[in-house]
Symmetry: C2
Subunit: 324 residues, 2 copies
């Protein structure tokens, strides 16, 4: 089993590598080789008996994708991409990396006649307001950002290339990943993780929106579970509609905070300071709230069932089980 | 008013040119210039006081789109494309013309900072089975052909480029155009027009599917009406969802034949010979049947209200009012 991961230096990529290292196998076969690609050098795990190769560069550069798939991977995890805010700020960069880079990879696989399983991380950013209360699997994607547009185009290409037999693709639309480890960033969604992550290590966190805001979350651990399941699932059971909205936990910000109180105590939850920010709220108002995710659940994709579970996963995976 | 038409040599292109020549104006302004583009030289209409330019070539050739928009059109009708069967048979050609050509045109407009109204002819091929009985405007597009994939990607780009202010785009998803003038072709949908067109000129037509098959049609005259309305409509009224499923007449094949009997008499309708073709029926079974088209109707797009009307339009526009 030879596995290629693009975007291997990112948060999800690193956690996926750690999981693969722990499992040692995928689709019932021992992992013999890992090709790790990113724009910056990904950290190579030390794995006995696994041939780990590090690749760096821009997939949209002519020849880059062809040379990357020359090792003939059996499974490809295509995680690489420019994030939402950057794709909006830099039109050319977003289209080059998120669209041209993805298409270059897909075409390189097509021309190499590999037909691997290819797992692509899409996003709920393919959807754009207005929304029904619960977004069904059959709801039309009408993105309101260039990032969402690029993800949607990649999804549609993935479905056509799969139908043609060039590869066996599965696109997974990730909900917001929470609790995201690391530092706060400038993403409008940063606070969803911040109000859990910072209080748990004794720091103050800012809540810029009302407690009534409803949003869907899945832990980094679930994101990795989705990727592994997408790599192992029976493609025939998926049928021609290859892009699936992943399940998650739909909660209000108020319910997030109640879960934090239950899990870590009221003193921890008091470290959240409400400081309304109209700009952030205006952005968040346009986001989807709740998904049906019926097909993904039926196909065996599973997320946490409560936000308490999401917090416990963070405490176990990032804090060694300890709360400050 | 300067107008650019790509795909100007095609059936819809020629009818659009004839209509513009007759109207002499668009969006309330006199037409001063027409730029007509196609892969083969379009026929130039003789128009007093209108500067008509003929352009030929492949839009995906570097520089071709930039030189085409150098005349700074106020309105662009982008009709050019490889048809469904050809895009399926020739993967590279379909993606080059239908995706790369469209993106090249969109980018040329973006880089020229023109911000024209841009009307794009999409297709109901963006939808793929299984379908509900009536396909609502919010139904997700999951194309099952490369042609439908390329049209959908163009739609999504059009929406993002419009949101960015690079142009003011409207995508119109055309139903099957019926009665299509000319000769039968190898398209699986050819019989929908053939069973009307051939009997009206004294020729036999083959019906390869059961009379119970339900399908949505609009006349070539309606297709041109849609294009003109899409060029003139208030963009603000459309909002961010720029791609609209056009209305049409949903009838069974049996109802088509009854309309032919009513319009032209039973002797004409007897020229249809039923000769079941399992291959054609298998293709037709996967096609969408009926559309809600609520948004398009609310925005003032209007088609025929009966199939009798579609037949009468054909007799008036193509047969000089006479039936054989």
């Amino acid at each position: 089993m030879r596995i290629l991961i693009t975007g291997a230096a990112g948060m999800v990529g690193r956690k996926l590598i750690a999981r693969l290292a722990k499992d040692g196998a995928l689709r019932g076969r021992k992992i013999a080789a890992l090709d790790l690609h990113d724009i910056v050098p990904p950290q190579a795990p030390t794995l006995a008996g696994v041939d780990v190769s590090i690749h760096t560069g821009d997939l949209s550069t002519p020849g880059a994708a062809a040379s990357l798939v020359a090792s003939r991977p059996d499974v490809i995890f295509h995680l690489a991409g420019i994030v939402s805010g950057e794709a909006e700020a830099n039109f050319d960069l977003g289209y080059r990396v998120n669209l041209d880079g993805t298409r270059a990879l897909f075409d390189a696989v097509r021309l190499a006649a590999l037909a691997p399983r290819l797992v692509f991380t899409s996003s709920i950013a393919v959807f754009g307001a207005p929304f029904p209360d619960v977004i069904p699997d059959e709801f039309h994607p009408t993105p309101l950002t260039s990032y969402g547009t690029q993800k949607l185009i990649s999804e549609v290409l993935l479905a056509d290339y799969t139908r043609r037999g060039f590869f066996d693709g599965i696109g997974i639309r990730l909900p917001t990943i929470c609790v995201r480890p690391g530092k706060p960033n400038k993403a409008a969604s940063s606070f969803f993780s911040g109000i859990i992550r910072e209080p748990l290590v004794g720091q103050e966190a800012i809540l810029p929106v009302p407690r009534s805001v409803l949003h869907t979350h899945a832990s980094p651990r679930s994101a990795v579970n989705f990727l592994i399941h997408a790599a192992e699932i029976d493609g025939d059971a998926v049928g021609p509609r290859r892009n699936l909205t992943m399940p998650g936990v739909a909660v209000t910000v108020g319910e997030q905070i109640e879960a934090l109180e239950r899990t870590a105590g009221p003193e921890v939850a008091k470290r959240i300071r409400e400081e309304p920010d109209e700009t952030i709220w205006a952005i968040v108002k346009g986001w989807p709230t709740r998904f049906e995710s019926r097909r993904a659940r039926e196909l065996g994709f599973a997320a946490e069932t409560s936000f308490d579970e999401i917090i416990r996963a963070h405490i176990e995976d990032e804090l060694g089980g300890k709360i400050a």
